[in-house]
């Protein structure tokens, strides 16, 4: 892949196809990453020509699904950035625990690792029974995987270390049952998770939440789209609710920033009205 087979013009053509044919709008995505992923898929699937590749995406529903799954980044892990989850455990969730009911929106949940992480913390804080986690993603395929609550056994050592550094004190392996190469997480953990499709680009606010998490999703969007999505979060967040973003993402420079106060040391903002 010295000179990529996919050009900037090809990317533009595919993006307008996706919008016209399927209503998926990727035009506000950062181009360099998108182009890399499209080129990667083009090589991986040994496409004969761009014309054939394009036709297949337009004509073959199953291939279109694969295309969307492959061009979006679905890499995630449990308790990624342990200090972030420690702040949730020790500061944010105990405060929300004084409410009669806790509604959480995990936007861009991918295969669900963060949803189960939050569920574990809520259970340990005895808050799970009065909580509801809406875990959404634009991609139905990753949601199906998320709902199975099965993750690779090979990841468990890392996740267990993350869990402990985030302040977890239980035996992490008590949360799953090992079955060959997979760890199946206890059903109790997903009882309060609703997995559902939601496209941050085109779908509207669907509820009011006390906590919205959207980590490492905004990095794939251009500035305009980032601002629109932050508006969407603002309109979906109650006063005194919390908004959590990824390590390199920020509310600063956006229209909503005057209303938000950052918690020291973490990418978590509180809506102060």
């Amino acid at each position: 892949m010295d000179i990529p087979l996919i050009t900037d013009e090809h990317v533009e053509i595919l993006l307008s196809d996706l919008l016209e044919q399927y209503g998926y709008d990727f035009t506000g995505y950062s181009k360099a990453s998108l182009k890399r992923r499209i080129s990667r898929l083009y090589s991986l699937d040994k496409a004969v020509s761009f014309a054939e590749f394009r036709y297949k995406i337009l004509d073959d529903q199953a291939y279109f699904k694969r295309f969307v799954e492959q061009i979006t980044v679905n890499v995630t892990e449990m308790f990624r950035d342990p200090s972030f989850f420690r702040t949730l455990r020790e500061d944010v969730l105990p405060k929300l625990g004084t409410y009669p009911f806790i509604r959480i929106w995990l936007a861009g949940c991918s295969t669900g690792e963060e949803a189960y992480s939050i569920s574990i913390i809520l259970k340990e804080l005895n808050l799970l029974s009065k909580s509801l986690i809406y875990a959404t993603d634009l991609n139905p395929a990753v949601l199906e995987k998320a709902a199975q609550s099965m993750f690779a056994m090979s990841q468990m050592k890392q996740y267990s270390e993350n869990y402990i550094s985030s302040g977890g004190t239980n035996d992490f392996s008590s949360y799953y049952t090992a079955s060959y190469s997979l760890a199946k997480f206890n059903d109790e953990l997903k009882q309060k998770i609703i997995f559902s499709t939601h496209n941050l680009v085109s779908d509207h606010s669907f509820n009011e939440f006390q906590l919205i998490l959207c980590r490492n999703v905004l990095i794939y969007f251009d500035r305009d789209l980032q601002h629109n999505v932050l508006d969407l979060f603002d309109s979906s967040l109650e006063d005194l609710g919390y908004l959590a973003l990824g390590t390199k993402e920020t509310v600063e420079f956006s229209r909503i920033s005057p209303k938000y106060k950052r918690l020291p040391g973490e990418k978590i903002w509180r809506k102060i009205g």
């Binding site: 892949m1 010295d2 000179i3 181009k31 360099a32 990453s33 890399r36």
Partner: protein, 193 residues
């Protein structure tokens, strides 16, 4: 010195490195001209969580502004940018940075290949990329792209590298423009300005 020995009007200089590259950076940066006419972008493999130490460390050695990249940041000449740990660093056509948390490449995130490849398509013949000491082959495919788009491929002299594997792999697989000993690097960078 031959006329076409150096590129005219370099627009970006990217340094990639892994094991054994920090010492090189610490030796080279103090001697890079403060009035340099292009940005220097540094992508080194490091452990996730060791954040923000590297920019602090490097900024003690130079008068140039040294900063960790913020996503969507405009790339400005005369600044030394450090790729954040645990993200791939990409260059957009409008000469801004973007970040990506996709799969590791060559067991690495950031992967040098990703930055070299995306930069090659943006800066084309006005790009110079230097690959330093390291123990895997990250950066080699990136240098191929740099050459394919007409840019300049540079490596640390493997004899001077703490771990020679990375520059050696580049030498074996890519038509390298210049092999630089550590002592010559800063002057070379200054001459491109």
């Amino acid at each position: 010195m031959e006329e076409d020995w150096l590129m005219k009007k370099c627009k970006a200089f990217i340094i990639g490195g892994s094991a054994g590259s920090l010492d090189v950076l610490l030796k080279v940066l103090p001697n890079v001209d403060v009035n340099i006419s292009f940005p220097i972008i540094i992508v080194v493999h490091r452990k996730h969580g060791a954040d923000s130490l590297l920019p602090v460390l490097l900024s003690t050695r130079t008068k140039l502004i040294v900063k960790e990249v913020d996503e969507k940041e405009k790339i400005v000449a005369g600044t030394v940018y450090i790729a954040p740990s645990d993200y791939h660093l990409l260059i957009e056509q409008d000469e801004t940075f973007s970040l990506d948390y996709s799969e590791k490449i060559n067991y690495s995130r950031p992967a040098i290949d990703v930055t070299y490849q995306t930069a090659a398509e943006v800066y084309k013949t006005k790009l110079a990329c230097l690959l330093l000491s390291g123990s895997n082959s990250d950066g080699v495919n990136g240098l191929k792209s740099v050459k394919a788009w007409g840019g300049m491929a540079l490596i640390q002299d493997p004899d001077s590298a703490q771990v020679a594997y990375m520059p050696e792999q580049a030498k074996l697989n890519v038509k390298i423009d210049h092999v630089l000993p550590i002592e010559a690097m800063a002057e070379f960078i200054n001459l491109l300005s």
